[in-house]
């Protein structure tokens, strides 16, 4: 007897026979990727000017916008606290700004439930830009035109980076729901 379609028992998350979604994977992947992304700006380069976009914040926003309902509204508090440990900002600025970012996304979503990717992109970039400027103001640095001019490349890089991060998050989302073999 031959099967009509060998892929008939599979879906986007793998074979359905004797396999199920792993709760561990489903719940830890978003948080773990955001934590890793907050660590990322420490590694690549020791620069004389701030140029690396706030990848941690962007990853959190991408998870929130790509897969709504997964992160609770208060996720900004613990994640921002972790980011503060490594960002070099005064402790508390991450907690404040990330919490506000989550609340703002929530408010926007109530107002505009139907959005396309471009709108999501604009929302993310708007929030990231505001938070970069606010973080600079709250960093305890002495403010002046050169400081804000130095933020421009960072903002532009964030603008370019969001679609890439969003694509990565949607791939990770498929990985999150991957079916794994049930033991026993």
């Amino acid at each position: 007897m031959e099967r009509a379609d060998p892929r008939s028992r599979r879906d986007a998350y793998g074979s359905r026979i004797n396999r199920a979604h792993s709760p561990l994977l489903a719940y830890t992947v978003p948080w773990a990727t955001i934590l890793l992304a907050s660590l990322l700006p420490v590694f690549p380069i020791a620069t004389a000017a701030p140029i690396v976009p706030p990848v941690g914040l962007m990853t959190m926003l991408a998870w929130r916008l790509v897969r709504p309902g997964l992160l609770p509204v208060w996720a900004g508090f613990p994640l921002g606290m972790f980011n503060d440990l490594f960002s070099g900002q005064p402790f508390g600025s991450g907690i404040l700004l990330w919490s506000l970012a989550m609340i703002v996304v929530e408010a926007i979503e109530t107002r505009f439930p139907w959005r396309s990717f471009v709108q999501d992109w604009l929302i993310a970039v708007g929030i990231v830009t505001c938070s970069i400027v606010a973080a600079a103001c709250l960093s305890g640095a002495s403010l002046g035109p050169p400081l804000f001019a130095a933020l421009m490349p960072q903002v532009l890089l964030s603008l370019m980076l969001y679609p890439i991060i969003a694509r990565m998050i949607s791939t990770l989302d498929r990985f999150r729901l991957l079916r794994v073999r049930i033991l026993g």
């Binding site: 508090f77 070099g88 900002q89 402790f91 907690i95 400081l147």
Partner: protein, 300 residues
């Protein structure tokens, strides 16, 4: 499809309370953040403990990535070298000729220097660095400029010690963990360094601007003697940095000084040395209240 969060949370009281509690926690979270932020702006050292523990935890990974970074920089340099081999060769030959002459002159000056020092009876021993380590990372997403160093209290690093690369000053140690420490880079807008012109007695302050430039502010205002390409070195005032270490090169002249580029860009440095504070007594004296004599402060 509308996102699940924007659908009505049903008529279940339980679900409605759940959503409401979420908002309350988020709001309280933001509030706590604001309070912690105010606290850490008021007392910047409040949260150094957890931060240095966290930094120690990622130090090994950062160390590895720093190594990869240095290697890849070398690779790119090597490829670039091949591409420009011909013209570079000619340039270098010319430079070597000049350098030989300068070297001979320097020898003569060195000898004269030794003679004069012997005449004055100044004994100047070479200082050994406290620790040599890599810059393992930086706060590259924040507008404060900090770098992380792969050496901590285990290696004898203490707060306030100057950090330098072979090219010049990098910054000053701000907080120390066990295996890693945080360095305030020269370009941070809170960093001020007393400097002087290398071949002249013009003294100034070099302040960080937050972008990659330093602002040179002359102490004696009047005719601005600076030119593009002038090199500033540490003056030793303040007692932290040994005098005569290269700091910055003037890029642009302004009304009250100049804009200068740092000589030792942290992005280009691999290993850095942590040195002893040059004049610890002077710093201790400066920190002692004026009503108290320094020897009294020592006894307490």
């Amino acid at each position: 499809m509308a996102p699940p969060s924007s659908r009505r949370s049903s008529y279940s009281r339980r679900a409605q309370y759940g959503v409401f509690t979420g908002y309350v926690i988020a709001g309280v979270g933001a509030l706590i953040g604001a309070i912690l932020l105010a606290l850490s702006l008021w007392r910047p050292a409040s949260f150094n403990g957890p931060r240095s523990v966290a930094q120690d935890a990622v130090a090994p990974a950062a160390e590895a990535s720093a190594e990869v970074r240095a290697e890849s920089q070398n690779l790119i340099e090597a490829i670039r070298g091949y591409l420009r081999a011909g013209s570079q060769n000619a340039e270098l030959k010319q430079e070597v000729e000049l350098a030989r002459i300068r070297l001979a002159e320097a020898e003569a000056i060195k000898r004269e220097n030794e003679r004069l020092k012997a005449l004055l009876g100044i004994e100047q021993e070479e200082t050994k660095p406290v620790a040599v380590a890599r810059l393992i990372g930086s706060s590259s997403a924040s507008s404060r400029r900090f770098a992380y160093l792969g050496a901590g209290s285990v290696d004898g690093v203490k707060v306030g010690m100057p950090v330098r690369s072979p090219r010049g000053v990098v910054g000053r140690v701000l907080e120390v963990g066990r295996q890693s420490s945080r360095v305030l880079l020269l370009t941070d807008s809170q960093s001020i360094l007393p400097v002087r012109l290398v071949d002249d007695n013009v003294v100034a302050y070099a302040e960080g601007r937050g972008d990659s430039m330093l602002r040179i502010r002359l102490i004696n205002l009047g005719i601005n003697p600076l030119k593009k390409g002038d090199i500033f070195v540490t003056s030793g005032a303040g007692g932290y940095y040994r005098p005569g270490t290269a700091v910055a090169i003037v890029a642009e002249k302004t009304e009250d000084g100049a804009l200068a580029r740092i000589i030792s860009d942290p992005a280009a440095t691999d290993y850095v040395a942590v040195e002893e504070i040059w004049q610890p007594e002077a710093i201790r004296a400066a920190e002692t209240p004026i009503e108290q004599s320094v020897s009294e402060a020592d006894n307490t």
